[in-house]
Symmetry: C2
Subunit: 517 residues, 2 copies
Amino acid sequence: MLPAVTGAESLLRTLLLNGVDTCFMNPGTSEMHFVAALDRVPGLRGILCLFEGVCSGAADGYARALGRPASTLLHLGPGLGNSLANFHNARKARSAVVNIVGEHATPHLRVDAPLSSDIATFARTVSSYVRTSTGPADVGVGVSETIAAAWGPPGSVATLIVPADHSWTEGGLPGVQASLTAPAPVDDAVLRRVAELLPLAGTMILLGGMAVNPRALDAAHRISVKTGAKFGIARNAGKMSTGRGRFQPGVVPYFPEGALPFFADTLNLVLVESEVPVSFFAYPGIPSYMVPDSSLTTVLARREDNGTLALEALADLCGAGPAQLSHTPPLEVADDDAPLTLEALGRTVAALLPENALVSDECVSSAVPILTALRSAPPHDSMPVTGGSIGQGLPLAVGAAVACPDRKVVALDADGSAMYTLQSLWTMVRENLDVTVVILANRRYRILDIEMRRTGANGFGSLAESMIDISRPDLDFVKLATGMGMESARATTAREFAKLAREALGRRGPFLIEAML
Amino acid sequence: MLPAVTGAESLLRTLLLNGVDTCFMNPGTSEMHFVAALDRVPGLRGILCLFEGVCSGAADGYARALGRPASTLLHLGPGLGNSLANFHNARKARSAVVNIVGEHATPHLRVDAPLSSDIATFARTVSSYVRTSTGPADVGVGVSETIAAAWGPPGSVATLIVPADHSWTEGGLPGVQASLTAPAPVDDAVLRRVAELLPLAGTMILLGGMAVNPRALDAAHRISVKTGAKFGIARNAGKMSTGRGRFQPGVVPYFPEGALPFFADTLNLVLVESEVPVSFFAYPGIPSYMVPDSSLTTVLARREDNGTLALEALADLCGAGPAQLSHTPPLEVADDDAPLTLEALGRTVAALLPENALVSDECVSSAVPILTALRSAPPHDSMPVTGGSIGQGLPLAVGAAVACPDRKVVALDADGSAMYTLQSLWTMVRENLDVTVVILANRRYRILDIEMRRTGANGFGSLAESMIDISRPDLDFVKLATGMGMESARATTAREFAKLAREALGRRGPFLIEAML
């Protein structure tokens, strides 16, 4: 006779059977049987986070870095609530996440206990799929369906709610294979239509989603050389390959004043895992759509399609041969005694960045000079804040470093942003993750300075000013990091920053640099 | 001609007209006009928090301490997401909160911008009332209705979603009076029925909600002396008056092993702003309801009623005269060189606590010895975690200290719990709040040790163990506090703790003590 399997054991076995071997967790009482099963069902790596927003952001980073899902384990509605902001970014990045949420035992649901809440409604805000298991025998099926929903395509946050008694009761299936869906093949008719329109003046091919990888960029470059079509990168890409030796189309500018000219000549917009580009926010008198109304729009690949294969097929159909990139010279470290600037910081990071690094970009208002410099860095992947929800940068770095232990991870994080999910540092230390954190400390919500003027809210008096100023008291990130066991130091000059960056990027393990700007 | 009023100005004027003069905020672009209006519509105190869970917990603390609502200002769905865990506690405490959430400008809603999400669904998880303004002229009406919904009775989180263009467009009403509802008067028939049943053996009157205040407790004491009825305090009370010189019924024990005997003799349960008591969590083989099925249940006052008036009327109806409490001797400070224990810590806090202090209790697994000692402290109010969502303690202290600047606030916070919303310390420093924070540092999620055994999850191997152990790396709360500009120090012996507690409790302003347990 086979040994009895609890629902929790069935859950773990099903995760493992389907290659989901990592779980970012912050469990509570209703998840204790899942936690206990870690020792009985070997193979699932549990990674404890001190706040659920770290779990969700880490799972997003894991999926972006590795292209397959991790799981999260969260405690009831409020625990899920804490994860939602970063799951919002994961949703916009189309990252696959298998999100497991514990629920009260079913007989306890009718009593409105203190922690009772409508977990499914919490989950619906960010999930493509929400399921509650119906019994221990259903847990394995439920998680296999959740895995399939998470994989997509496109990837998404899929949520399985598991009442505690389903976890602790025997009668679980040993492990259930998920039935994954392959992306649709490239549609030849669409391909031919796009190819026919390519010679049109004003063609702009917008790469997004998963289609900003080296293969896709190489195909794009070939098409560009052969046809003269312009390329751009949409802000919905969860991971963008960039740096020297790669074809580097411009990223759609954040503000409409930049994005409108970017598309001013566009008459033929071709979407590759991207959407018709819109402004991040609305402003009085400025349109929401960034492309002229007169432009044609053709979808070469939807978010659920494989845009990389579509681009390669398009390049072949055009008869585009191999294309050679012009040489980009590397940048030099900024090594003088002047006060540290964003330009110097960007130059130094670009000069010292190890090849194939993963960069978590939460630079916010500091982005332009740094990301411009990074175009001259060795080839690397940059991961932006896809959904605009702040507090993503550090958790994303946690997940990326767990997913890719052989790649250096660099988190470039604005000071205000870092404070939302600073508990990430603790997990970086505990797991000895190879992450260099650079805090961009300008001691303001500086993006709101800009937005305050842009939205026409001109009455920028002292009370409004104090809601944007995050000095008084000044944050000391060296102390904050040390309080979580993380090595750290502060740089106020370009030379100090260069010295710390050499140290942090030249070795393995977590280190935080507070860059005073 | 009257000057034109924007929707944002109408919002602020309506808040102020209805006595809502405090706003805990973490704004973004879509809220810039609200922020700008702070200078044009004087009187609203904006308090910046570095994380939205601090805003929601602070608003809860404000409402509990003062009995009237503050407002919160949050940025879109993800900002609201970060607030939900503490709003869950506010919901269970029936705290009144006027929650304002910015939304994209209406023409921008159709474009699925990166920050687009279903804000109303986020809001529904915790709100009794959700409304989206329909135009600038509707903002004032919307906020007045939201205020009315928040006040109740009972109090609740009520949410108004305001698209940015409604804020920035002129056409707002100057200020709209909210139409508040008075609690229903005490029902004489119910009162007589309860009075008739009072002489029954096994009567247990369970006080909850707002009915654990000095007046209610005095009436309860009179009834107790006159009739011999037993009293208990439900875990749904957001604020409990306790300490020397007050009638102190027992609080329903957290675990069923304590709660079941507490109610074992109960044959006649009388509810005063409380519900039929249930276990916090379910455990295999243990019932959810803590009162014998055979007991009568009578509702003297619902959550929306005034239980205090009902108790006073009941006392009068019974002919209960004034009652004298026996003298409770004060405790002595524990002042020896032994390692600090929970008992010593509780004794010292109880001995030194200023009269009329507000205690934010997030002691979790450390609660029993400390709260037992505090029964001998001078009269004070204790505010527990009503909804079981962890990360409440520090934000609640922020709000209570803003609400009651003349009362000392003491936050007793478990180390694991404090890490969810540690950003609270920054706001305490910025606003120079009179809060003493005591971190109970046992370096474990110790409650989960207990729950792991209780749920029967016996396979407590090394992998499970590491999900409960929050050492590796050790947290250093002195450094963490210093990093946010807060004075702080560590105590490892009873004498060290006593010295620091004397200092912190004997002066005004924020101070953090890391108590090593």
